[in-house]
Symmetry: none
Subunit: 416 residues, 2 copies
């Protein structure tokens, strides 16, 4: 089965917005065993939308259109689709209620505009949009389907996950595809590729290994394709187990949605322990990652972002002399920060970070990218120096991931 | 003048590689005033390449093909192009010398493969590739041009910058394009659209307004297209000024690369003031945003992420009684947090935030999305309650942006 993706938006063609939507949708469809046969990126012009839809329906079964559904005047997708299918725009009362509800509490908004947003082509099935005003649309045309979603990534993803992907699964006869994942963090892709070189060569044709690198992490996906689920599972499981044992302790999870912080929060909850962080160069990024996990408040006490040295002294109890003699980016200071935050927040565990994220602040002895990380509990401190390449945002991101991974491995010593 | 971009590669359609090439090329062409009219992403299949080239040449003057030029078997672009133009592949001695030179020093490589790489369609102008083995190709077809570059980003960019873009500039008669930007935050796209409704209708055909929404912000772009720069500037400036005055104080910058935190850091530096934050539900996100700006260490003292109530009491000096009688998410507590962080960090300004980001923790009286924000200096505190829709990550992101915008407006009262 083949699919096309059409991305609509001048901002994409101007090169102002990177099209992560088409990329994300490609991933999701590929995981269902659908061949994303082609992608188009076009202007928000009626003729272009119609012509491209013609081309897409010419050789694919499913067309997903992303973008062009906002309330502003440059969005023409909806009326164009109605014209394309030769139907009228009809007011959908349920959608109107949803939009009015979204605006209630605030100034009621422009009622006429809300109504316009609730006008939909008469032949479509409405895809609810919990997070925004523009609903999605599903069109059945004999054996083919056209789906239209808004371009705002979080709205598009919610609608795809909640409604569209499940519907695609039941609507089309898809091959059986089994995916297994191994999540690793703070280890480079090429290092992992070296560990798995022979394993990859040993794979039969129906099993494929993919490296999906993210920020500071690599997701490994083993995919088996076949016709019947149970025999396919029996065939692929030994390969997965072998791969897992080859990678050993660098694997932090088998769940592809797990980030390091999820694993850490779960381990803390299970063991009844708490965590606090003391951050200098990461500026709150580690705390942000941890608190992005729902329920983290049960185990996360908080963080002191000690950007200025005076704060390291006053709030973390780092001795002034240490800062003067060893410098803010040093083993002694990061250890003092870790001990200080445990003392201040009465936490069981701590992460502390200090470093030079750049572009300024580097020296010959301590160039930009020099970072010290400590992880600790009340009895013990582990510390580590890093020399990271790259720019400010990369250094901050890598430091945060490596610090979390250090804590995870510290846990492995102290409880299962 | 119109251009198409064709990206070739299974890894793109599988969703394994994000297509940053097409994005980068779009930017570069747009900056030259070329309308990137459409982009295609296709498999490395001869028929697909031919069909797509037909479509692209049907309505654009310039076609840039990225990818499909490597030495491996799945790269069919070169022979397909020769077939398309009905010419033979001819050995290019200069290219062969370059490839052999690249491999010298290493194991000499496969000489036969090198020779294959140096076989090029007889009708093309060779684009040198300093960083790799696969040369680029420029084809003139009457008034149209087709350019083929390898998919490796660093090689593609080098060839575009050194040879292809300069050649495009002299080869085509390009229009003049002028962009103006207005940046807004914490105001919805539809609210801005309402403010600009009449203005947008008044625009002449050669001036276009685009809404480019990001997380919690909307970038507005006014684009004028013409033949001569000076008269075009004279024509578009009054529109831009009118638009700016209509939006008034909701505009935080005219620089499209500015985020709110850039503006705040600049204002703090200029006035010699410092900032600290006290964050509960945002969990360090505001501090992270601020410290993402290079040089923020000069004005940002730090943050206390007071996730647990005990930390609000111990480190921010929030009275325990207040937490008990008013609750952690209340006007009184957020004001106490703001005053507490100024006291603790001796900062001139402060942001404090407390709220319920969900999914747990909500009640009938204070549902998920209830947030209190305070901005303060040593003399004065402003506070505000929000009722935000959406999920945890959105609530955290919106709260952070609204808090920064509140601080910017607070600044407007206290210094220009």
């Amino acid at each position: 089965m083949k699919a096309s993706i059409i991305s609509i938006g001048d901002e994409l063609l101007f090169g102002q917005t990177l099209d992560t939507n088409a990329h994300w949708i490609s991933q999701k469809l590929s995981q269902l065993g659908i061949d994303v046969f082609q992608r188009f990126t076009i202007h928000d012009l009626a003729d272009e939308i119609k012509n491209t839809l013609d081309k897409a329906l010419d050789n694919t079964d499913l067309v997903i259109i992303s973008g062009g559904l906002g309330p502003t005047q440059d969005d023409k997708t909806k009326s164009t689709l109605a014209g394309y299918f030769n139907v009228k725009l009809v007011l959908n009362e349920e959608v109107l209620r949803h939009i009015n509800k979204l605006f209630s509490g605030h100034k009621a908004g422009d009622l006429e505009r809300n109504k316009q947003q609730a006008m939909l082509p008469g032949n479509c099935t409405v895809i609810p949009n919990d997070l925004g005003t523009a609903p999605g649309m599903w069109f059945d045309i004999e054996h083919q389907c056209v789906v239209s979603v808004p371009g705002v990534p979080i709205e598009m993803k919610g609608m795809m996950n909640n409604t569209i992907l499940p519907r695609i699964k039941t609507h089309f006869a898809l091959p059986v595809l089994i995916h297994f994942y191994l999540m690793t963090a703070a280890v480079g892709e090429s290092q992992i590729a070296e560990m798995l070189q022979d394993f990859e060569k040993s794979l039969p044709g129906y099993i494929k290994l993919a490296y999906l690198p993210g920020q500071g992490m690599v997701k490994l996906r083993l995919t088996a394709k076949g016709e019947h689920k149970i025999p396919l599972l029996h065939a692929v499981l030994p390969y997965f187990e072998r791969m897992k044992s080859m990678l050993g302790h660098i694997v932090y999870s088998e769940n592809q949605d797990d980030r390091l912080e999820h694993v850490i929060i779960r381990k803390l909850k299970k063991s009844g322990n708490s965590l606090a962080t003391a951050e200098s160069c990461t500026g709150g990024t580690i705390a942000k990652k941890i608190t992005s996990v729902p329920g983290s408040s049960a185990v996360f006490k908080g963080s002191i972002v000690a950007y200025a040295n005076e704060i390291k002294i006053a709030l973390l109890g780092v001795p002034e002399l240490l800062l003067k003699t060893k410098g803010a980016v040093s083993k002694e200071v990061v250890i003092a920060m870790a001990k200080g935050i445990i003392r201040q927040m009465h936490s069981d565990f701590a992460i502390a970070v200090t470093g030079i994220a750049g572009p300024g602040g580097g020296s010959k002895k301590k160039p930009v990218g020099t970072v010290w990380i400590a992880v600790a509990n009340k009895q013990e401190v582990h510390s580590k120096q890093l020399s990271l390449p790259g720019k400010r945002t990369q250094i901050i991101e890598w430091t945060s991931v490596i610090a979390l991974e250090m804590l995870r491995r510290f846990f492995m010593k102290h409880f299962v």
